[in-house]
Each structure stands twice: as C-alpha cells, then as structure tokens.
C-alpha cells in the first residue's frame, strides 16, 4: 500500500518533469536553427585534389537542385548571380573537395565490393559578411548501383538533409 502511495505521488511529478524537459529541449533546438530567407551556392572548389570537371559541375548542379527541393529558402542563387547582392538574410554555401576516389562502375557491378566512388567535401555556411554559421564534412558515395556521378547526387542529398535539420 505504501509503495502504491509513493508511486501515485511520484507520477504527477514525473509527468510534469517530462513535459517541461521536452519543451525546453524543443526550444533549444528551435533556437539553434539558423534563420535565412535565401541562399547562394558557390561553385564547388577543389584546391587540394584534382577533381574532373564533370564531377565538379555535377556536384554543383545536384547541390542546387536538392537545396531547392527542401523549400527552406525563398531564393536559391547560383554562383555569380548579381541579384544575390541585394538579398536580405542571405547565407552562402562554400564547398571544398578534400578527398576524391574515382571508382569503376564495371568493377562494382561484377564484384559488388570493389570499385566504390567517394567524394569528401567540406561544407561551410557563412553570412554575407563572412561569419561562419555552420561547418560540416559530407561524404558522397556510390557503392553498388549507378554510375560514378551518382556519388555527387548522394552528396547533394546529404547536404539537403543538413539544411533541413539546421535551417528554419
């Protein structure tokens, strides 16, 4: 009887703590999210590694397409777009490739385990003034089905996921 009494006394307390805790966590998460109405995606750079031009262009184009699909921004500006200069609440996405391993589609299909293509990119979101907002390393892979350029699509999907998680 005593035990039931204790438990019944603790239950409301536990419920109150649970809800206050979760709302506080949600507020923290909301506060941590970056607010921006538009984004400018700069051309992917590859200072450290030699990246074939088709991979560079595919990374850039897939990135723009996937970020547009997130619907988090009113405008997605391309590199060099003059209209971006007048945009308020603009964040700029810089991408720098620091690792690239070109695999082989043939090897992948024949062996399943060999011939993977991998692209490692350092992504940096900054304000217009240059202040860093968010930095993350993202890896794009293709391990089984698809051509080598599919690694760029994988990378773009992951960046889009980061945008969804971190932007309001």
């Amino acid at each position: 009887m005593k035990l039931i009494g204790y438990l019944s006394a603790l239950l409301p307390l536990a419920l109150v703590l649970h809800f206050t805790g979760s709302t506080a966590l949600a507020q923290d998460k909301a506060q941590a999210r970056i607010q921006a109405s538009s984004i400018q995606i700069l051309m992917v750079q590859s200072d450290e590694v030699k990246l074939p031009v088709e991979f560079q262009l595919a990374l850039y184009e897939n990135l723009i397409e996937q970020v547009q699909k997130t619907n988090k921004f009113q405008h997605v500006y391309r590199d060099g777009d003059t209209a971006a200069a007048n945009a308020a609440d603009l964040v700029i996405l810089h991408s720098n490739v620091y690792g690239f391993k070109k695999g082989s589609e043939g090897k992948r299909q024949v062996t399943t385990v060999a011939g993977a293509t991998q692209i490692k990119v350092h992504c940096l979101f900054t304000e217009k003034a240059g202040k860093s907002e968010l930095a993350q390393d993202v890896t794009g892979n293709v391990r089984f089905i698809g051509g080598n350029l599919r690694a760029t699509f994988d990378f773009a999907k992951k960046v889009a996921q980061i945008v969804v998680t971190n932007f309001q």
Binding site: V53, E54, L57, G106, Q109
Partner: protein
Amino acid sequence: MEADISILLETGHFYFALTFVSNSLCRGQEERTMHETDVQIGNSRLDEEKSNMKMFRALTILFAATVVSMGVSSLAVPCLAQDAKTGNVMSFADTKQVLGLEGLKHNVTGTLAVENASLVFTKGKKKVVVPAATIQEVMTGKDTERTIGGTVGTLTMFAPYGAGRFLSLFRTKIDTLSIEYLDPSGGVHGAIFTLPEGNALDAKKALLSQGAKTSVPVEVEAEAQAKPKEKKQ
C-alpha cells in the same frame, strides 16, 4: 539439319542459327535421357537433367542475344558526328544530356547541335538553346557505360547464375562533354553530355569556332586522351 544451319548462316541469321543449334542439341539429349530413364534412372534424376537442359538452353539463348545486340549496336546506328553541311550546323545524334540544362530531366537522349552561334539540344518538341558566347568552359573526357543499360540493365542484376554480372562486362566507350555557362543574371550553370565515342572533340571544336571559351585547347586535350592508348601499345 546441317543444311538448315548453313542456309541460316548464309542469310545472315546468326542468332537464329545459334538458337537452332542449341535447340536441336538439347532436344537430342532430352530424347536420349527419356529412353534411359524408363529403364535405369529414377524420377529425381530425370528432373535434374531436364532442369540442367533448360538452364543450358537459356544460357545459350542469352549468350546469342548478347552477341547479336553487341554486333547490331556497333553496326547499325550512324553515331558519328553528322556534319549536316547546312550552313554552319553540326549535329550529334544520340547525345545524352546527363544533367544541367534547364527544363529537361536528367539522362535524356536527344540531338546536340551547334548552329547560329549557339548550342542547341533537342529532345522531341523540347529545345534548349545556350548561346556559345556565354559558355565559359568546354571540357571533354572519356568513359564507358554498360552496353545493356537502363531499366533492362538494372533488371539483369537479379538474373540467376550471375548473368547480370557477366553482361555488365560488356561495355561501350563514350565521350563526355562538360560545359560551364552563364545565364542572363550572371549565374553559373554546368551541363554534362555523353556522346558516342570520337565526337566530343569535334563538338568542342565546333563550339569554340562559334565563340565559346576554354582553358584547355583542343589539341592539348586530344594529346592527353591519346596518351593512355600509346602506353597500352
């Protein structure tokens, strides 16, 4: 039977000849086993041999189909750059737009043309025009793709006895053409095309002659692409 095969071969029906041979071989063996089973072999052995025969026949047909499709693909379509000679038009049929052109889906096959100081990609009624003067970079490369690709190619991955893996060994050489161009507001765009082998450099030459820019001259790229071949020799 030999006369039938020779007629088929003479008339160029290589695939039918192969199928005919395989069928006739299988039929003969099946007949033999039928006789033996009545006397000696049990039902399970008969089933096993029948399934083996079916597998052999299926593999023979698959092999013949592969050989024929490869032969036809190399002979049939005139994939070379067709210099239309209508003014300054130069068109490249069977060009795949991998990505990058506005208003088109990825991996669309159409015709790439260089005409009136523009790059024009046509797919059915859809036509995308990129002025050559806005093209900042043109690069070419070489690659390979599966001879049997697309949905059928993906489905073959699930074929039994590793047939899909075997078919993926058959690959077609292709050229890649990558361009970087600017839109009216100054935004950078990139587009990637794949063309039948030996056409990318011609396309690049045509684009450069119409006002496109590049950081790597055609001659340098041609030399760079020829080097791996020399090493092999």
